[in-house]
Symmetry: D2
Subunit: 282 residues, 4 copies
């Protein structure tokens, strides 16, 4: 069943929900699901509404224009996005040498859990090419010696492959501000700690040293400042004095992959809104 | 800020959300939050919408009549309920001898977590009178020797105290069908297991014997068949071979009180819908 | 660092720990870890002790005989087992068509998490042969039309491959009593529910119908009565009214694989004791 | 059943466990439980052993002397402590105005969960006197205007009441280095965040601002540097964009009290060892 998904985030005002749902109804659309949130502090309004396109009176090619008109009328011009359930987002996966998150994403994709296309895997190492091959995904090796050069190549590749969003599946390189600006709120990273605890590298070493009784993982959007972007999802697992750093890493892999997969699913379903440095999930 | 909460559950059809939100908007209501769900199997539609009464054009005393008209127009006659944030639900707590859930509810109420009134505690034993006294809540001792007689007394008392809903906080008596029918979907019980595992009495003994590695608690509405009503909330905690039955009981008390408090909060906020033998929480 | 692991389960009596630790010490063994448990109900004693073989005075080939003498002296004859860290247990994986648990075990093995050998995958279908091939594990297709016949073939194969224990990674066949008797407390199954809730097939359908707010998975030893063997590990994840049966299955896959992997790790590390229908994990 | 509990932490060496268990056995003691741990990094050995005193040949009054001799022989002089199950530790609770942790500890004590005496509650405010009264515990109000003065009074009071350990149940004062030095590794604090995230005051405000999806609480020993002492226990609960700071506080109270109670139980059972800035729990 084909559907349209409209995301809106704008200043709250009376009549937004009525205006939007009436737009759908008066064009014979059947609402599948509607989520909304008003932030009591910022007075910002967030809405995700999905309706069946079967029987909907406005043609898909005309929909952006008609929503544009509606937006102007209701006062949320330029603060909306429209998606269609039959157009799968295109995801690029960036990896280095760790394979657990990559395998996890590819297996979930294979199992039908992730409704996206994966046309491209990029790595600064050759190691994971065989994994990409096994799942028949294009693998590009772009060494990281010259960051400026390699990011230029990456950006060209991403453009050529029409990539919508990037997942850093334990990619061990810091992206430049310029690179990030091309994919604002469209780069998802997995950090191997319960942020903001243990930012930076060697998070498990830090956790071990501090003697924490719970370790975690955090998926978040990448912004210019490392490990400080809006948090999408977090997960935890118990630890004890018996856990060596290796044990923590092993335990951590399980949460890392789950927490990353959760974020990817939410992104693909167009459920994540960025609000300042926080996310709203509808 | 005073608000109105409208709950609707009816057969799904196009235009329901638009019709309802437009009703609120056209009467100058500002929507605070809207939750909805369509069950893909039963095609039932559930909605909870809350809006500010400040500035709303329809007077509170006229609101039921006006919603009645709307309901007729949109086809959900008799399938709605209206609540007001400034009218607190009145809760009666039924207890026997265990005090942990009682204390928990009274303390949360005192802390402002439970926005309800507690005019009455009923028990088939005298033991917990002193707890009720400490929190200045009326305590009625109704012995359980003659169930018919005692239930009659209870019903009169509940009526007199204008009780909206009953919480069985480890009340060790089975209620009759007749009693339950007076408070359909308005009696919340806490069962000391992860239902449907270990129904009936001595759930921790059963759990211990089966050697489970996790124990749980379940809050649910009471229906005629014991331990089989719609589940509202469940919680779990780890167990091991080291746990004696006493240990399980101790661990269990923590989840029992949390899971019961969660259910009570959801009820008070008018978030629970019963759909067959399941609940929808909005 | 090579080590020996001694497991003992016998009737409790004074002097067991002293006698055993003294045996290790007086032969210059350095204890790495010692876990013990006395069941207050059954008065059974369980112990797992691991010590370094480097510098240990008794030769490995003489160790069983010497422990036999000790056991006779201390009264736990025939109630002990000895293992060596450099002899990896040999695991056979039985599968049908679901691949998530199989992939998970093979990936964990590849990552070094599971310190065992996997010489054999057995299936009643051809579907997962390519997964076995990708990980270079021998795959045997034994159709299940004639259970007696196929179990005979399986037993021969298991014997030939010197299999120590079997993991049923969502294997959709019921094993006969006779088959089970060959691998008592050495067949690990993953059941897709929080046992004892929802025994039998279609556990997610049952969970959906009952409207539970948490779903689970259970790894357990296989005994003659299906889904009733000693529980090794359990895990849970939240569910809601929004989850379809497919959603529950997707969520369930994550817990199934984690809970199964946990059980396999505990088995490989010789940490699981069976005590009646319960397990003791040291 | 009366028992003795011996705690040892010393440099690891061969023969410790054999020597100690043999000491118990040769004096006719029956071991109830034995936990041990060797830290692979520091090579430190930790052991907690509990045995029945019924039938034990050494008289309780002679036990310290005899263990002293054993310690000298085995090389752990001065690195052991002995406790008796029938001598309950004496706990003082320090509070300010928040009552949830205080109520929780008093209710658990009343329910028999905490096997300690509570002769004293100290507060810098009068507010919680009535809670102390309701549970018939002595309440001392010591205003905090002059820290030096008030700590002097507190120390005298603690001495007079023969207090073994102090629990800071949301006590909003920083203790001086001098005060802490009198109760080294015997002051337990509850911090309202998942340390090391959000140290200092207003942890829930910080968590809200950072937009975390999980909040936590941490119980730890107090050392001179605030919020940096050895962690005993941690707990977490999910959060979302919908949670206001008040919601986080409400959710937080539940974990705070559980995590604090866990730490208190572990302390009372003599299960916590401090090793550098980490804890070992046996």
């Amino acid at each position: 069943m084909e559907s349209a998904i409209l995301k809106i985030s704008c200043r709250d005002r009376k009549g937004l929900i009525a205006g939007i749902t009436n737009f759908v109804y008066s064009n014979s659309g059947n609402i599948i699901t509607l989520g909304e949130f008003v932030d009591p502090e910022t007075k910002l309004f967030f809405m995700r509404i999905e309706w069946e396109l079967n029987g909907f009176k406005i043609k898909t090619r005309d929909l952006p224009r008609e929503i544009g008109k509606l937006a102007e009328k209701l006062g949320f011009s330029d603060l909306w996005e429209i998606f269609y359930s039959d157009i799968k987002p295109r995801m690029a996966i960036f990896v280095s040498k760790y394979d657990h998150c990559l395998y996890d994403l590819l297996l979930r994709h294979k199992a039908g859990e992730l409704k996206c296309d994966i046309p491209l895997i990029v790595s600064n190492h050759q190691d994971l090419k065989k994994v990409a091959d096994a799942f028949k995904v294009d693998f590009k090796h772009i060494p990281s010696e010259n960051k400026e050069e390699s990011e230029k190549m990456q950006l060209e590749l991403l453009k050529k492959c029409k990539i919508d969003f990037i997942v850093l599946a334990r990619y061990m390189q810091v992206l430049s501000k310029d690179f990030v600006s091309h994919f604002e709120s469209r780069i998802i990273n997995i950090h191997h700690s319960f942020l903001p605890a243990f930012e930076g590298a060697k998070a498990y070493h830090q956790a071990h040293e501090r003697g924490v009784k719970i370790i975690g993982a955090t998926s978040h959007f990448v912004i210019k400042t490392l490990d400080q972007g809006p948090i999408i999802q977090q997960g935890v697992v118990s630890a004890s004095h018996k856990d060596t750093i290796d044990d923590l890493m092993t335990k951590g892999r399980d949460i890392e992959r789950t927490v990353l997969a959760d974020a990817v699913k939410l992104f693909i379903e167009h459920r994540i809104f960025v609000s300042g440095n926080r996310t709203v999930i509808l």
